[in-house]
Symmetry: C2
Subunit: 217 residues, 2 copies
């Protein structure tokens, strides 16, 4: 187990078929915390592929990082195969006991649900995973991110950026979060207004819902 | 040299001290192009560290991918040390001859400038790199992304997401881009409105400008 007195430990879980932006959104924001270190963590150290083949390296095993200050669980299609993985679930349960913040991006919330820590919490997740998450007993909200005590869950993929800027303002301060936002020039101007099921054309929403059902068979 | 008939080849350049979100923003969007493959490319195959230590894998060398259809140059503090790297500059010059699209994120535009392909082009880059980019002869615009022929440059870091959704609509179609936007739930709601030098508090803007001057000494 790694102990660096005074350094804020941020752990991000990697696994095969994660979603790259779920990892890198929070990473880009929270790695800027002064006197912090990000630990990429997996069941076994090594390279992990996102859903389209991009490979990122996890240098640490779960037992190397038992007490992160900030625990980050990204999502991706690979999350479903982890929900019954006792080693990962136990690690999350244990890490959550001492964490200052436990956060998820997108379908990463399912793993927090499987660890039993979302019961009766207010949470959110990817719009297309809400029914699945509801089975773990939380109250699902229709927000970009939701804070309930020390747990913060975010909506799909890109929402991890918004959530992390908010978390950064809590961990450091608002001016620091604004400086990081400026550094990454996060002044979003999507060319289309299709980022939520309320705004996107109905036929596109239906198609994605259908495809997700097929993937989760 | 790799040849896969009919598959759209997307090359993303990796190097030490890249910015992770510059890579993953476009990756997350453009890897969804049907019948495409993303090639992570570097001078030598191997692991490359972003400015804060996150490691991504480049499986291909420059000579493996000489004719990408889409050439993507991310930015980061490491870009400055590449501007006189003849091997990389030549690769970009050569790849640009046959590319369908040549794009940059953030300070990645400097490398396109160093390759001499931005002269008299309309372009953009990170707000704090504009003076530096101007030396290569382009017209700098104050936009989220700028298309000039087959060259598309984007503003800082997170702007690569907006640029890529726009490019996706050109490569596939607008409905497909909207579906990808919905899939990644890109309905941004930053908690602060500090993402551009016009919007951020002046003292924060000045501080970042100053720190960049120090870094580039």
């Amino acid at each position: 187990m790694i102990n660096m007195v005074g350094t804020l430990k941020i752990a991000i879980l990697l696994f095969d078929n994660f979603t790259a932006l779920d990892v890198v959104g929070p990473y880009e924001v929270l790695s800027k915390i002064p006197n912090s270190k990000v630990y990429m963590v997996a069941v076994k150290p090594g390279l992990y592929k996102d859903v389209k083949g991009l490979q990122m390296s996890a240098e640490y095993s779960l037992k190397d990082i038992e007490n992160p200050d900030i625990l980050i669980i990204p999502g991706g299609f690979g999350i479903d195969s982890l929900l019954n993985n006792q080693e990962i679930v136990s690690w999350i349960q244990n890490a959550h006991i001492s964490s200052k913040w436990t956060v998820s991006v997108c379908s990463g919330a399912l793993l927090l649900g499987a660890a039993g820590i979302l019961k009766d919490c207010k949470v959110t997740t990817h719009w297309n995973r809400k029914e699945q998450l509801a089975k773990y007993g939380p109250t699902i909200e229709n927000e970009r991110y939701v804070k309930d005590g020390k747990i913060i869950t975010s909506a799909g993929v890109s929402a991890g950026i918004d959530m992390s800027l908010y978390l950064l303002s809590l961990v450091v301060n608002e001016n620091f979060a604004k400086a990081v936002q400026l550094g990454m020039e996060y002044d979003p101007k999507p060319p289309f207004d299709s980022g939520s099921p309320e705004k996107a054309p109905k036929e596109i929403v239906d198609k994605i819902r259908q495809s997700n059902k097929t993937n989760n068979k």
